[in-house]
């Protein structure tokens, strides 16, 4: 592809859809598995010398001195990095409407009045549009509580959130370090598998990075799913779910049955009841410490130096952070203060352990768990405005469970409601990405997007 045409094309797309916070053109070599691909990168990932701000105004003008490990790996395979995709500031959101002050909200490629989902909204939106325009493209997204699956579902593309620790987080702007995962968003399962093969693996720069051996994910794609034991998470089909989505998932289940998978129902009461609360407390506690460094002294936004340092910090942070960033900093700080720490932070950590145990027990019996990715199709911006912050957080009900447990999950497009895509989510045990890709591949023909 002629790179100049692409640049112009990208600028035009961006004017219309706001998928990029920054466009760039970084390539180090022209050979490798990705030599024909352009790669978009969520703004939360460091690309050397390219403005990287995690979607937040507080980091305006910040140019990292180094590439994230995943970026190094993609460049080594001949990829061209074309830009930093828009997102909720620091990943704080499900609709990409909490973008940083003075930034633009990405628009759904199917209907501009609808959200792309978030927080990797620009990544998923552009993936769908690039597919429509015939651009060979893979997006790198990042998920803390569902930020890959949610936008993939709303934009009708594939999003894979790997097992926590499978992909190095070195060079990722932290939201909640014990939950953050980098993963690919693509128009096909094969592209997901290819990208995961490249970015997975131990990194000596990230202490949490796993030393597990990495299989060739592309190889297993065509393996039949006959005999696979699948369980449908009962609680995910109760109150609050769009009936059209329920119907679509039942159809998907039929397709899987036809291919020889056995389907049963499972109940995950602890996860359903407590995952959301535990997730938000842990995520906000960690986030509030991560965002403390953004105070206008070292990185990003600066203001005129006036007053004492406390006054200066406060001024920079008041102007730089948006409402949701401030909300999470305050809640997170509160929840880890002595007196509340045991009741919130420590308790949430204990709940997390129970939830992991519940999933682990399920995986003794089943290969895969199924749920909708989101309880609704992409809402309009008007609908989102009417949500309270609590309702806003409730939308993440399906994705926070696996996120909290560090389990790999994949969102696959499986149909439409009123021309807006529906996503089905598959969850596997730790490091069982092969099974996820295998099952996603087996239903790929259902995707008529």
């Amino acid at each position: 592809m002629n790179i100049n045409t692409t640049q112009q094309q990208l600028e035009k797309i961006n004017e219309e859809y706001h998928y990029f916070n920054k466009l760039c053109n970084v390539q180090t070599k022209k050979t490798g598995k990705l030599k024909d691909y352009v790669i978009s990168v969520k703004d939360a990932l460091c690309v050397k010398d390219v403005e990287t701000k995690g979607g937040s105004a507080i980091l305006e003008g910040y140019k990292p001195l180094f590439n994230a490990t995943v970026i190094e790996k993609l460049l080594a395979e001949g990829a061209t990095i074309i830009g930093k995709t828009s997102q909720d500031a620091f990943g704080f959101g499900t609709f990409s409407t909490n973008v940083g002050n003075n930034m633009q909200i990405p628009l759904n490629p199917f209907d501009k009045n609808h959200s792309t989902g978030g927080s990797s909204g620009g990544a998923a939106g552009f993936t769908q549009l690039a597919k429509k325009k015939g651009i060979k493209h893979i997006a790198l997204g990042e998920s803390t509580g569902g930020s890959i699956a949610a936008p993939a579902s709303f934009c009708g593309v594939y999003g894979l959130t790997p097992t926590y620790s499978l992909v190095s987080r070195y060079g990722l702007l932290d939201y909640a370090n014990s939950l953050d995962k980098i993963g690919p968003i693509a128009a096909s399962v094969k592209e997901l598998a290819m990208c995961l093969s490249i970015i997975a693996g131990h990194d000596e720069k990230d202490a949490t990075s796993s030393k597990t051996s990495i299989p060739d994910y592309e190889k297993g794609l065509s393996k039949p799913i006959k005999g696979m034991k699948i369980a449908v998470i009962k609680e995910c089909f109760g109150k609050g779910i769009d009936p059209a989505i329920k119907q679509n998932i039942l159809e998907t289940i039929e397709t899987l049955k036809k291919q020889g998978a056995t389907i049963e129902e499972i109940s995950l009461p602890t996860t359903t009841e407590y995952a959301l609360e535990a997730y938000y407390i842990l995520a906000m506690c960690e986030a509030s410490t991560n965002l403390a460094k953004y105070c206008g002294i070292r990185y990003g936004r600066h203001e005129k130096l006036e007053g004492n340092f406390n006054q200066y910090f406060s001024k920079v942070r008041s102007h730089g952070f948006n409402k949701e960033e401030k909300r999470r900093i305050l809640l997170g700080t509160f929840a880890r203060m002595s007196g509340y720490r045991d009741a919130y932070y420590i308790k949430a950590a204990k709940v997390r352990t129970l939830i992991i145990q519940e999933y682990k027990k399920a995986f003794e019996k089943y290969d895969i768990l199924i749920s909708p990715t989101m309880p609704m199709v992409a809402p309009t911006f008007d609908e989102i405005k009417r949500l309270t912050p609590l309702q806003h957080y409730m939308v993440d009900l399906m994705t926070v469970g696996p996120s909290l447990a560090g389990l790999p999950h994949i969102s696959c497009p499986t149909g439409f409601k009123d021309n807006m895509p529906i996503g089905t989510m598959f969850i596997a045990d730790h490091f069982q990405e092969e099974k996820l890709l295998q099952i996603a591949s087996s239903i790929e023909e259902l995707n008529h997007g």
Binding site: A68, Y170, D174, A292, I297, R336, Y345
Partner: protein, 481 residues
């Protein structure tokens, strides 16, 4: 403590930080010291020993320096602490310009070591509450004083350097006890070889209260160096006592120590404890501390001062005080052990603890800065032991030996310093001295005993100090009878 109340006149607790002698920082590979090139003074340019990790750049992640864990384990075991099963780090949040991330990676929940002790010579145990590892913040640099500078500069060279923090229980009852505690700690650090006294910094925050005030405590922050800590404690106890005598009311406060004026001054009154909102650092996975690691570290520990003192007393029959003085200085203790294999341990102990220390003081050097070759010392002291040379000769040679190397035996031979033990020769010299000292002899005969020293001195002069003065005196007395 009785019923949770202290019942002594003075209560002191210390929080001690020291920088272990590691080559790289706690979570990155940046150097802890400026590189010294040959023929060049080490010049530490600000912000040159930094990287994305110790600057807390967005996206960077800390990686543990495993050697820091080894050092922490060594100290924990040497102080009889119980060791945690896991090494866990926490984020301690506070906003300050010298803190790159606005949180400091420290330990909170599960300190590496806890419930240890140091035993004072009286047998009293001072409890160690906890020992943990943490990173140092950067340093703030003011062009003038902190009050009249128009701006503040930040040097991140120190940011991320490993510190070991040791917190005592409030069990010291006087500045003197605190001094002994610190001296013992210093010796243990010497033995473990985890602290470089020449370049490393030791700092303390001290909590001090007195009975008269009902134990309202002041915290004196950031006192640097062993000697200063004791000075600050002495001052602060006195200040509090004076205040009570003057009917002033003491309030909880945080104070600074000014080494120049020798006074503490109030920085702020303390109404509440700071709330650091600790969470486990999710970037650093917990590291299992296995029984195997603990055993291995234990086996690698050197014999520590207390055991050494006991062994010196039982094996070498030293007096408790000799044993203690030697054991409290690693250099002396090690030298003693080697020398004691060849010559009488009691003689060796006397010479090392008195004469060698005197030489060091004379040269204004620390013991480990002296040039000491054990073989030379053995050669020298064996001549003393066999009474081949006089004490005075030996003292002179010892002083020279610490400056440059040579064979003491050869030296004695060349300079003819062997004790004159030939009685005939001595008698001749005594006669000569008597002949030349008529006035003194008259005085002596008139009953002035002391006048004889003059004559002895003459003989010593003839023999260049190599004669046995007592023997000469006896000889003179006999001859004058």
């Amino acid at each position: 403590m009785v019923n949770g109340k202290f019942n002594s006149d003075v209560v002191i607790g210390l929080e001690i930080h020291f920088q272990p002698n590691l080559k790289s920082k706690l979570f990155c590979s940046c150097a802890t010291k400026a590189e010294t090139k040959k023929n060049e003074n080490s010049k530490d340019e600000p912000n040159t020993r930094t990287c994305v990790i110790c600057l807390g750049m967005p996206g960077s992640k800390p990686m543990l320096n495993k050697k820091a864990l080894d050092y922490g384990l060594k100290l924990g075991l040497a102080l009889n602490c119980s060791i945690a099963l896991e090494l866990i780090f926490s984020r301690k949040s506070y906003f300050y310009p010298d803190l790159a991330k606005n949180y400091q990676i420290s330990q909170f929940e599960l300190p590496l070591g806890k419930n240890g002790e140091i035993v004072l010579s009286s047998g009293k145990k001072i409890g160690i509450e906890r020992i943990h590892l943490e990173e140092d913040p950067a340093s703030l640099v003011h062009p003038n004083t902190i009050h009249d500078s128009a701006y503040t500069l930040i040097d991140y060279n120190r940011s991320g350097i490993c510190l070991i923090e040791l917190v005592t229980k409030p069990e010291m009852r006087s500045p003197e006890e605190a001094r002994e505690f610190l001296k013992k700690l210093r010796t243990i650090l010497q033995y473990l070889e985890i602290f470089d006294e020449q370049t490393g910094v030791i700092k303390a925050d001290a909590n001090i209260s007195i009975k008269e005030s009902g134990y309202v405590r002041s915290e004196v922050k950031n006192i640097t160096g062993f000697k200063e800590i004791e000075r600050a404690l002495l001052y602060e106890v006195e200040r509090q006592k004076q205040a009570m005598q003057n009917n002033e009311k003491l309030v909880m406060d945080t104070r600074g120590w000014n080494a120049l004026t020798g006074k503490t001054t109030r920085l702020r009154t303390k109404e509440t404890e700071a709330d650091y909102g600790y969470i486990i650092d999710p970037d650093l996975v917990p590291i299992d501390i296995t029984q195997e690691m603990i055993e291995k570290t234990k086996r690698g520990l050197p014999e520590l001062p207390d055991e050494k003192i006991k062994r010196f007393i039982t094996k070498h029959k030293l007096s408790p005080i000799d044993a203690q003085v030697l054991a409290m200085e690693r250099v002396l203790a090690e030298l003693f052990e080697k020398v004691a294999e060849e010559i009488d341990p009691i003689l060796a102990a006397q010479w090392l603890r008195h004469e060698l220390v005197k030489v060091a003081n004379y040269h204004k050097l620390a013991l480990d800065q002296l040039r000491i070759e054990e073989l030379e010392i053995v050669e020298l002291l064996s001549m003393v032991e066999k009474k081949e040379i006089s004490d005075r000769t030996a003292q002179q040679i010892l002083s020279l030996l610490t400056e440059k190397g040579f064979s003491p035996r050869q030296y004695v031979k060349e300079h003819k310093l062997t004790i004159v033990s030939d009685t005939k020769e001595l008698e001749e010299l005594c006669k000569k001295a008597i002949a030349e000292s008529q006035p003194a002899i008259d005085d002596y005969k008139a009953g002035k005993e002391i006048a004889l020293n003059n004559v002895v001195g003459k003989v010593m002069k003839y023999t260049k100090g190599t004669a046995d003065a007592a023997k000469v005196k006896d000889m003179l007395k006999k001859m004058l009878r």
